[in-house]
C-alpha cells in the first residue's frame, strides 16, 4: 500500500465520496489517515455536540463543506424546549478565525442567529451555499446580510424554518453584480418580498435551476419569472389563484409550456383548483411532486393532475387525496419510489382520509416503492402483510396511525404481525417508525430480522423492558433510537451500556427510567453525555434517585459536557 506516493493515494481517495467510506479509509493506517484528512473537503456531523469546531478544524484543514445537525429529532414535535441548544454561532466563529475556506454550510434543527449569518457572510470569500432545514432564531435581516455580502452565492435554500419576517428588502440586497445563483428557495417565509427585485434577480441569473417562491408571490409575477427562466428544473409555486378567463392566465399557460426542463414541482400554497390544467403540459416530465402544502387541491381535480404524472418517482401529498386518489396513483405512477402522505388535519384522527386500503393499492401498483411516510386513520395486519409481500425493497418505512395505540380494527389484535412481516420481508430496511397497538412481540421480530436497521422510532408501545432489550441486542447497526411513552425502565437501559457508544444517540421520554438509572449510565460511560431535560423544576427540589425522569437524551461525544445547556438541562 505504501508503495504509492501520497499524491496517487490522494487521487484515489478523490473517488471515495461517501462519508462512511472516507471514515473507514482513515482508519487503515497512519499514513492513510494523514492523506485522507488533508484531502477531505466535505464533513458531515450528525450531532453538533459530539465534536468541537476546534478539533474539526485541526483535523481537516481543507474543509469546504460542513453539514451539522443540532437538536434531537423529537424537537420537531415540540418535545424539546426551544433553547435547549444547537447553536451554530460558536462553529461559525471558530471557522471564521481559522484559515478554513468554507464554501458550503448545511444545517438542520439548529439555532441560527442573525449575528451568525452576518459573521458567516463576511468571513468566507468563496462562500457558495447555505442550506437551512428546520432551523430557527433568525430574521430576514440575517438573510439580507447573506444576500449582500456573499458575492459568489450559488445556493440559498430555506426549508421549513421558523423565520421572523421583518418584511425587509432582503431580496433587494442581492447586488447587481450577483449573477451566480443556481438555487433560491424562500417558500417558508411568510412576508412580502420586493417583486421587482425578484424579477431582476431572476433575469440576471442565467444558471438558475431551482426557484421556490413563497405565498406572497402572485401569479402574474410567477408568469414573468417563468418567461425569464425557462431553464428551471425545480419550481415551487407560491400563490396560484386567478381567474381562468383572464389574460394573466393565458400568459401563464404560454410561460409554463416554455419550461420544458421542469422535473420537480412544489408549493401551491394558495390554489384555485380549477386552474390546474395550465400545469398539465409539464406534468408528464415530473419526477418529484410536492402538494403537501396545498390543502385546496383535492378530489377530482387532484386526481386529474396526478393522472398526467406518469414519470413520478417521489410524491408528497395530503391525506385528502383519499384511498381512491391513492388508487389513481397506483395506476398512474409506475416509477414511484417514495410516497409521503401527510395529515391535512393533524388534530382530528377521524378526519384522516386514508386507511390501509390506499397503502395496499399503492404497494400493488408501484413495485419500486422503497420509502414511505404514511399518516392514516387505521391499519390492519393483513394490509401490512400484503404490503410487505408487494414491496420487499423498503429502505424507509414510517407509519403513523393518528390515534395512538389503535389496534387492528378488524381483528382487534395488536399490529405486531404486520410490522413483523415488514421487517422480515424488507431486508434492506434502514429506518422504521411504528405506531398503533404494539406489544413486546413486534420488538422480538425487529431484533430478529431488522439487520440493517439504523433508526427506530417508537411511541406508546410494548409491555415491558423486554421490548427494548430485543432491539438493543438484535439490531447491530442501530444508530438512533427514540422512544416515547413506553414502559421501558432501568433494567432495559442498563443492560448493555456499551451499546450506546456504537450509536449516535438515544432519546427516552415519558418512560420508566429513573434518575438513578441515568446516573448509572453516566458513571459507567464517560464517553457519553447523559442529559436530563426537566422543565418542571422537580430536579431542584427532589434529587431522589428513584424518581422517574421525564426526558432523557444521551449521545456519544469526544468533547465531554457541553457548556451551553440551559438551567433545566442536567448533564450527569
Amino acid at each position: 500500500m505504501n508503495y504509492f506516493p501520497d499524491e496517487v493515494l490522494e487521487h484515489v481517495f478523490d473517488f471515495i465520496t461517501s462519508h462512511k467510506d472516507r471514515n473507514s479509509v482513515s482508519l487503515v493506517c497512519k499514513s492513510w489517515y494523514k492523506i485522507e484528512r488533508y484531502s477531505r473537503q466535505r464533513v458531515f456531523i450528525g450531532n453538533c455536540y459530539s465534536i468541537s469546531p476546534e478539533r474539526l478544524i485541526a483535523r481537516f484543514p481543507g474543509l469546504k463543506s460542513l453539514t451539522l445537525k443540532g437538536k434531537p429529532h423529537f424537537a420537531d414535535f415540540n418535545l424539546v424546549p426551544h433553547d435547549w441548544g444547537g447553536f451554530v454561532y460558536p462553529w461559525i466563529k471558530a471557522l471564521a478565525k481559522s484559515r478554513i475556506g468554507l464554501e458550503e454550510l448545511r444545517l438542520k434543527r439548529m439555532v441560527v442567529s442573525d449575528e451568525s449569518l452576518e459573521l458567516l457572510s463576511k468571513s468566507f470569500v468563496n462562500f457558495k451555499s447555505l442550506v437551512l432545514v428546520s432551523c430557527e432564531g433568525f430574521t430576514t435581516d440575517g438573510l439580507a446580510a447573506i444576500a449582500a455580502n456573499c458575492r459568489f452565492l450559488r445556493e440559498l435554500d430555506l426549508q421549513e424554518n421558523e423565520v421572523d419576517d421583518h418584511r425587509g428588502h432582503w431580496l433587494s440586497c442581492f447586488p447587481e453584480s450577483c449573477t451566480s445563483l443556481i438555487s433560491l428557495n424562500f417558500a417558508c417565509l411568510r412576508g412580502e418580498v420586493n417583486l421587482g427585485a425578484l424579477e431582476r434577480l431572476v433575469s440576471r441569473s442565467p444558471n438558475l435551476k431551482s426557484l421556490r417562491l413563497n405565498r406572497a408571490v402572485p401569479l402574474d409575477t410567477l408568469q414573468k419569472l417563468l418567461m425569464r427562466a425557462p431553464q428551471l428544473v425545480d419550481l415551487g409555486i407560491g400563490s396560484y389563484v386567478h381567474d381562468p378567463f383572464s389574460e394573466a392566465y393565458n400568459k401563464l399557460k404560454i410561460a409554463i409550456q416554455r419550461c420544458k426542463s421542469i422535473r420537480s414541482l412544489s408549493g401551491f400554497l394558495e390554489v384555485a383548483p380549477h386552474c390546474m390544467s395550465a400545469i398539465y403540459p409539464i406534468c408528464g416530465n415530473l419526477t418529484f411532486l410536492n402538494l403537501s402544502y396545498a390543502p385546496g387541491l383535492h378530489g377530482n381535480k387532484l386526481m386529474k393532475l396526478i393522472q398526467h404524472c406518469r414519470k413520478l418517482q417521489r410524491l408528497w401529498i395530503l391525506d385528502c387525496i383519499g384511498d381512491k386518489g391513492l388508487g389513481v396513483v397506483a395506476l398512474t405512477c409506475k416509477e414511484l419510489q417514495e410516497l409521503r402522505v401527510f395529515p391535512s388535519d393533524p388534530f382530528e384522527a377521524e378526519n384522516a382520509a386514508v386507511t390501509e386500503e390506499g397503502l395496499v393499492l399503492v404497494s400493488a401498483g408501484c413495485p419500486k416503492l422503497n420509502s414511505l411516510l404514511y399518516f392514516c386513520q387505521q391499519m390492519t395486519n393483513a394490509a401490512l402483510i400484503t404490503v410487505a409481500k408487494n414491496c420487499p425493497n423498503f429502505i424507509r418505512f414510517r407509519l403513523c396511525i393518528l390515534d395512538p395505540m389503535k389496534p387492528d380494527p378488524v381483528t382487534n389484535q395488536p399490529l405486531d404481525e404486520g410490522f413483523g412481516a415488514i421487517v422480515q420481508s424488507c431486508k434492506g430496511l434502514k429506518r422504521l417508525s411504528l405506531s398503533g397497538h404494539l406489544t413486546d412481540q413486534v420488538f422480538l421480530y425487529i431484533g430478529m430480522y431488522a439487520e440493517q436497521l439504523e433508526m427506530l422510532s417508537i411511541a406508546f408501545a410494548a409491555n415491558s423492558d423486554k421490548g427494548m432489550l430485543y432491539v438493543l441486542n438484535g439490531c447491530k447497526k442501530l444508530r438512533k433510537l427514540e422512544i416515547r411513552d413506553c414502559p421501558f425502565g432501568d433494567a432495559a437501559l442498563l443492560e448493555d451500556v456499551g451499546k450506546y457508544e456504537t450509536m449516535r444517540s438515544l432519546w427516552m421520554s415519558s418512560c420508566e427510567v429513573t434518575l438513578g438509572g441515568c446516573k448509572s449510565v453516566a458513571e459507567k460511560m464517560p464517553s457519553l453525555n447523559v442529559e436530563i431535560i426537566d422543565e418542571s423544576e422537580q430536579m431542584e427540589f427532589n434529587l431522589d434517585d428513584k424518581q422517574k425522569v421525564d426526558k432523557m437524551y444521551l449521545y456519544r461525544t469526544l468533547v465531554g459536557h457541553r457548556k451551553d445547556a440551559p438551567e433545566y438541562v442536567w448533564i450527569l
Partner: protein
C-alpha cells in the same frame, strides 16, 4: 378530561394553536404548565389507565354517528363530540407544517371561498352549454366579460366591446338591444323564475342563481316590463 394533556411549555406556546384550544373548551390563559403532581400521576405512570381511556374514546365515537336514536344517556348529540385528549407532540408532524396548515385554513375562507358555485350557461343558438364558477368573480362586469369571451365564437361581434351587461344597463341602448339581435343574460333563481341579470347585489345573485341563459334580445322582452313600457311610449 385532563389525561394526556400537558398544555403549554415554557419554551414556546405557539405549538398549541387556537383551534385546539376551542376544542378543549379551556378558558384558561394560553400557557398552562403541566404541574408535576397532575400530569405525572395520571398520564405517564399509569399505562393501563391511558390504554383504557384511548379504547374508550375509540368505542364511543362510532355509536355517536350511527345511532342517533339510541344515544347512551351520557352522550348528548346536541353537544359537540367530546374533545379528544390531545397528547403533546402527537401526531408527529413538524410544528412548521402544523402552523402552515392552520394559517391556510383560516385565510383559505377569504381567498377561494367555500365550495365553487358552478352553474350551467346556455346561449341561444350555441351548439353546447358551458359552465362557470360564479365564485371566481366579484362583480357583474367580470362575469359579463367572462361570458362574452366564452361565447365570442358564436356571436358575430354583437356583444360589443363593453360586454353584454353595460349595454343593457343603458336604457337607450336597451331598446336597440331588445329590438336587435343582441344578447341578454338571464338567470333562473331558486324559485324557478327567470330573471334579468343585474338587478340584485352581486352576493345575493350568486346565492340565488341556479343557471344562466343568454337570450336573444328579442326574446328577452318579456323580462323587462319597464323597458317595454318605455319602448311602447316612445314608439
Amino acid at each position: 378530561m385532563e389525561v394526556g394533556v400537558k398544555m403549554g411549555m415554557k419554551g414556546g406556546g405557539d405549538e398549541v394553536g387556537g383551534k385546539e384550544k376551542e376544542k378543549m373548551g379551556y378558558e384558561e390563559t394560553e400557557l398552562r404548565l403541566g404541574l408535576p403532581g397532575d400530569g405525572e400521576v395520571v398520564r405517564k405512570r399509569d399505562f393501563s389507565h391511558t390504554v383504557d381511556l384511548k379504547l374508550n374514546l375509540i368505542s364511543t365515537s362510532p355509536t355517536d354517528d350511527k345511532d342517533k336514536n339510541i344515544v347512551p344517556s351520557h352522550l348528548d348529540p346536541a353537544k359537540p363530540p367530546p374533545a379528544k385528549a390531545q397528547v403533546v407532540g402527537w401526531p408527529p408532524v413538524r410544528s412548521f407544517r402544523k402552523n402552515m396548515l392552520a394559517t391556510q385554513k383560516s385565510s383559505g375562507s377569504e381567498d377561494s371561498g367555500e365550495k365553487a358555485a358552478f352553474v350551467k350557461v346556455s346561449m341561444d343558438g350555441a351548439p353546447y352549454l358551458r359552465k362557470v364558477d360564479l365564485r371566481m368573480y366579484k362583480t357583474y362586469q367580470q362575469l359579463s366579460d367572462a361570458l362574452a369571451k366564452m361565447f365570442s365564437s358564436f356571436t358575430i361581434g354583437n356583444c360589443g366591446s363593453q360586454g353584454l351587461l353595460k349595454d343593457f344597463m343603458n336604457e337607450s341602448k336597451l331598446m336597440d338591444l331588445l329590438n336587435g339581435s343582441d344578447y341578454v343574460p338571464t338567470y333562473e333563481d331558486k324559485d324557478g323564475d327567470w330573471m334579468l341579470v343585474g338587478d340584485v347585489p352581486w352576493e345575493m345573485f350568486i346565492e340565488s342563481c341556479k343557471r344562466l341563459r343568454i337570450m336573444k334580445g328579442t326574446e328577452a322582452i318579456g323580462l323587462a316590463p319597464r323597458a317595454m313600457e318605455k319602448c311602447k311610449n316612445r314608439s
